[in-house]
């Protein structure tokens, strides 16, 4: 039987606010346990929540960036359940009226095709604390530093039909939240968490199959693997005549499999009801407009501009605009280099990105900044450096030996472009190989390659290759 995969994603993006969503406590990562928890975060008797306006602004920004519907009135609700790291015995979330409702996400696949994924909703909620099961000798430690951290839960429609589509959608959202400066996107630290609702159905069937929710996926690579494993598992279950159970499953990256965490029978009745401690969030048009005015150029628009303004290919533009920082880096480099966009794009996407990857660094920690890379572009563009020399200079720059001009100066790498000097090098080299010169002149074209090599060697790579070639040909044919 032919099976079709159906995937919907729930993404929790931690909002980059300075303080928590309902208290003034800092949200900084990595503090000593329970040092960032005040009476509100601890859920002490009598403590009350007060909504962080910045969290609301960021949520609206997200909705506007997707051109989704912004609810002018949204409601916070309590989701009731007991857990030791949930201090109040309920999580403040949104249920019936989320702040962002209904929208579309346009996803560009690797092969350039477009895919539209429906956005069901995006709502504000508070994070829980952390339960620490190690180091406590059979007991559980509770760290409430994270309790009350603002999250935007972004829920998609079940519109994706493969793990690749799911990954492309998740990357699109990831890029967007980072563009908007609303989330640092760090998947390892849990600032960007993706849960996948996965089901399969016989191709052509309209009804959805029973789904499983896959959690604990902390990279895009694991997301793809987890979905693929889950799809295979469900197909196996169905093909062996059994039924898929609705349940929550955890992905184990070490074993590359998903395991059952709790079934629907064990699922909670969360008893949602409007939180009487918080007023409805009412947004006026002036506020929404002010947020709209503050929107940065978004990935799609930036990509289009890169194609039109710089004449880049769709592939290059897509690559360069995948992250706001990379796009900014490219534009800064281009400005500093004053060169052709394509040359700059090739370097940013090629040697520069490769060096970053190899060193395992992100842009912010690159030893070569846009100003420096631009300086190198300038010297390539004005023919001071050949392609090969440019690579040497780049490596030296990466190693911290200074900017391009300083390295060229220090190493004497300046490309020779003076016609007379090049002619002298050619003549000197040819004088050492009279036999080969004679062979060429008698019609053995093959020997040309050898002579080019010898001349290049004599020039120690410094001569402009085009000029060198031209002079060599002229000499041989004269």
């Amino acid at each position: 039987m032919q099976w079709e995969t159906v995937i919907g994603l729930e993404i929790h993006a931690q909002l980059a606010t300075k303080s928590k969503i309902f208290s003034g406590t800092s949200t900084a990562f990595g503090a000593e346990p329970n040092t960032q928890a005040n009476v509100v975060d601890l859920g002490l008797p009598g403590a009350l929540p007060v909504l962080n306006a910045e969290a609301v602004r960021l949520a609206v920004k997200f909705g506007l960036a997707l051109d989704a519907k912004i609810n002018r009135r949204s409601i916070f609700a309590r989701k009731n359940y007991f857990y030791p790291d949930l201090p109040k015995g309920y999580q403040i979330s949104q249920m019936d009226l989320p702040i962002v409702a209904q929208g579309e996400v346009h996803v560009v696949m690797d092969d350039g095709t477009q895919k539209t994924v429906g956005l069901t909703r995006a709502h504000l909620e508070e994070d829980a604390g952390k339960s620490l099961h190690e180091d406590f000798h059979g007991l559980t430690g509770i760290d409430l530093n994270r309790a009350g951290t603002p999250l935007l839960e972004i829920v998609s429609e079940p519109d994706m039909r493969s793990a690749k589509e799911a990954v492309a959608y998740a990357k699109t959202i990831h890029s967007l939240v980072r563009y908007l400066g609303m989330c640092d996107g760090n998947m390892q630290e849990g600032s960007f968490r993706v849960d996948a609702n996965v089901s399969v159905r016989p191709k052509g069937q309209v009804e959805f199959g029973t789904r499983a929710e896959v959690k604990n996926v902390n990279s895009f690579r694991f997301l793809e693997r987890a979905i693929n494993f889950e799809v295979e598992r469900q197909i196996d279950v169905l093909e062996s005549g059994r039924k898929v159970v609705q349940e929550t499953r955890l992905y184990d990256p070490d074993r590359d499999e998903t395991r059952s965490m709790r079934s629907k029978e064990e699922a909670h009745d969360y008893r949602y009801f409007p939180d009487p401690d918080l007023l409805p969030v009412v947004l006026d048009e002036a506020f929404i407009e002010s947020v709209r005015m503050g929107l940065p150029e978004l990935p799609q628009a930036k990509k289009q501009r890169f194609i039109e303004q710089f004449g880049l290919s769709a592939y290059d533009a897509n690559f360069l605009t995948s992250e706001r920082e990379l796009a900014d880096f490219f534009e800064s480099t281009l400005k500093a280099g004053g060169c052709e966009a394509k040359l700059c794009a090739n370097w940013v996407m090629g040697d520069f990105s490769a060096a970053l990857n190899k060193a395992g660094l992100d842009l912010a920690h690159s030893p070569v900044n846009a100003e420096m890379l631009g300086g190198l572009m300038k010297r390539i563009a004005d023919n001071t450096l050949s392609g090969k020399l440019a690579k040497d200079v780049f490596e030296a720059m990466w190693a911290g030996e200074g900017d391009a001009d300083a390295i060229i100066e220090k190493k004497g790498l300046k490309q020779i472009t003076d016609e007379g000097a090049i002619a002298a090098i050619v003549d000197e080299a040819l004088a050492q190989f009279p036999e080969q010169v004679a062979e060429f002149r008698s019609g053995k074209d093959k020997v040309f390659g050898f002579l080019v090599g010898q001349v290049m060697k004599a020039a120690k790579g410094k001569a402009n290759p085009a000029q060198l070639n031209a002079v060599l040909k002229q000499r041989l044919e004269s």
């Binding site: 002490l44 015995g89 009745d269 009801f273 401690d277």
Partner: protein
């Protein structure tokens, strides 16, 4: 001056400012009275003698420096529902018997800043759930007028302590009548302000959309002075009103000529004790003499208030009380086997019967499949009740009626029949559902127990209510009666 406990705040102010006695001596007077009488009444859970005397000493310094405010050096008792830093805040529950609050409620903070002298924390129904103060883990409070009778609840400790002269003023909270009903049963004055007028920050939540703190004292004037400090916007409570608070003493003496009073026929029907009705009628006649006009009005949805309240309040309570799980503070059972055992036994041991009853009712009402039929329907009823009040209050200035259908029952009676106890809140609960202000003032006795008149006003009309109560009290002396056993 052995009658210090019978003085009004204005009189005490004069005595303190003229240095006839010091704030420390005044505090000691009340502490001695608590020591002498509270073994009978059980109106205090904690007495904070040392901290109180220290605060009194600071108050004396202010008085000496000529910096005294209206409440400088005035003793006050706080209902044990308000968090008091460094002092046990039990909420009348075993669950919080070991809870020393690490912060002050906004109300407590404001009263501390006004240089009041805290005498202690008053007894109450457990988590404010009850109308008799009998559900307290610390035992029942007795009514100073008749120690066989309950003082009402849940702010029964505050009401009894004021009536017996153990404190001149006290804080209370009112979710369905918990200030007004004990004020009525104990013959004192108690005001439930408009929802949002007094900050709920640091006030342990029972039903968040209904809870409101307010002043309790012997007179309307004293309530006004106390409300002056308690009321006002608080950024830490999102439901706090941004409307500016007033000087609630400014309009106390306004003439009542032309005051339009509405008497809802639903508040004078079957079930109202004849003695109570007579006392209320007499009070209304007195107000007529003061120039008020009276007409009958109707609040047709009144009978739905109790059922709606007993869905909404327990629903919110079931969620509000989830934080008492034995994990971070409060009672924890011995040697829990596992997490479920920790939750189950800590809560089973920590909560009393009435609290458990309401948690279960609320949990049920919010459950999937029942939410629409109970919670949503109750919210619609709440809207209807609020609409009734709005309509009537567009025709009259205030609504009046009894606070309760009968006088204080005997101890133990209500425990036998919780539903009968729930019904005793029939005239007070609708006011909370509508979020309106209402005051309870003593207007006489029936069956030798005090009777309270309820005056309900428009939102933020606290000044008007205090004005009416004050003019009435200028013309009568019911509020100056003291229980014989506590002279």
């Amino acid at each position: 001056m052995s009658d210090l406990h019978c003085k009004t705040l204005t009189e005490l102010r004069g005595i303190l400012d003229s240095k006839q006695i010091s704030a420390q001596e005044l505090a000691q007077h009340f502490i001695r009275r608590i020591q002498a009488h509270d073994s009978t009444l059980n109106s205090f859970i904690s007495v904070t003698e040392d901290a109180g005397l220290l605060a009194a000493q600071r108050a004396d310094e202010k008085i000496a420096a000529g910096q005294a405010g209206a409440l400088t050096g005035i003793p006050v008792a706080h209902k044990d529902i308000f968090c008091t830093m460094g002092v046990k805040t039990s909420c009348g529950s075993r669950m919080l018997d070991n809870f020393i609050a690490p912060y002050n409620a906004s109300v407590v903070e404001r009263l501390n800043q006004a240089d009041t002298v805290m005498l202690g924390k008053t007894n109450m129904d457990e988590f404010a759930m009850g109308s008799t103060s009998e559900s307290s883990y610390y035992g029942a409070t007795k009514n100073p007028w008749d120690t066989q009778a309950v003082p009402g609840g849940s702010s029964g400790g505050s009401a009894a302590a004021i009536a017996a002269g153990l404190t001149p003023i006290a804080t209370g909270t009112d979710t369905g009548g918990s200030i007004r009903q004990p004020a009525a049963y104990c013959g004192i004055t108690g005001l439930k302000p408009t929802y949002g007028r007094v900050s709920r920050f640091g006030m342990i939540a029972y039903a968040s959309s209904l809870d409101q703190g307010g002043p309790m004292a012997r007179s309307a004037e004293d309530c006004a002075l106390l409300l002056n400090v308690m009321a006002g916007f608080d950024a830490r409570d999102s439901t706090s009103s941004e409307q500016a608070s007033e000087d609630y003493t400014a309009q106390l003496n306004l003439d009542l000529t032309g005051l339009k009073i509405g008497l809802p026929r639903e508040y004078f029907g079957a079930g109202l004790d004849v003695g109570v009705a007579q006392a209320i009628d007499a009070a209304i006649s007195e107000l007529r003499k003061l120039g008020a006009e009276v007409r009958e009005v109707s609040l047709p949805n009144s009978e739905l208030a109790i059922p709606a309240y007993y869905v909404i309040a327990p629903a919110e309570a079931s969620s509000n009380l989830s934080r008492f799980d034995g994990v971070r503070f409060g009672h924890r059972c011995d040697a829990p086997k596992d997490l479920t055992d920790l939750y189950e036994r800590s809560r089973a041991e920590g909560f009393g019967d009435e609290v458990k009853r309401r948690i279960m009712i609320g949990t049920y009402a919010l459950s999937s499949g029942y939410y629409d039929a109970y919670y949503l329907k109750a919210q619609r009823v709440r809207r209807l009740i609020a609409d009734d009040f709005q309509r009537v209050l567009s025709e009259v200035d205030v609504i009046m009626g009894p606070v309760t259908p009968s006088v204080a029952p005997n101890l133990g009676e209500s425990l036998k029949d919780p539903v009968a106890m729930y019904l005793s809140d029939i005239y007070t609960v609708p006011v909370n559902l509508a979020g309106l202000p209402a005051i309870s003032i003593p207007v006489g006795f029936a069956h030798n127990r005090p009777v309270g008149l309820q005056v309900i006003g428009k939102a933020f009309a606290e000044s008007r209510l205090l004005n009416i109560a004050h003019r009435f009290q200028q013309a009568t002396d019911w509020h100056r009666q003291t229980p014989p056993a506590f002279k």
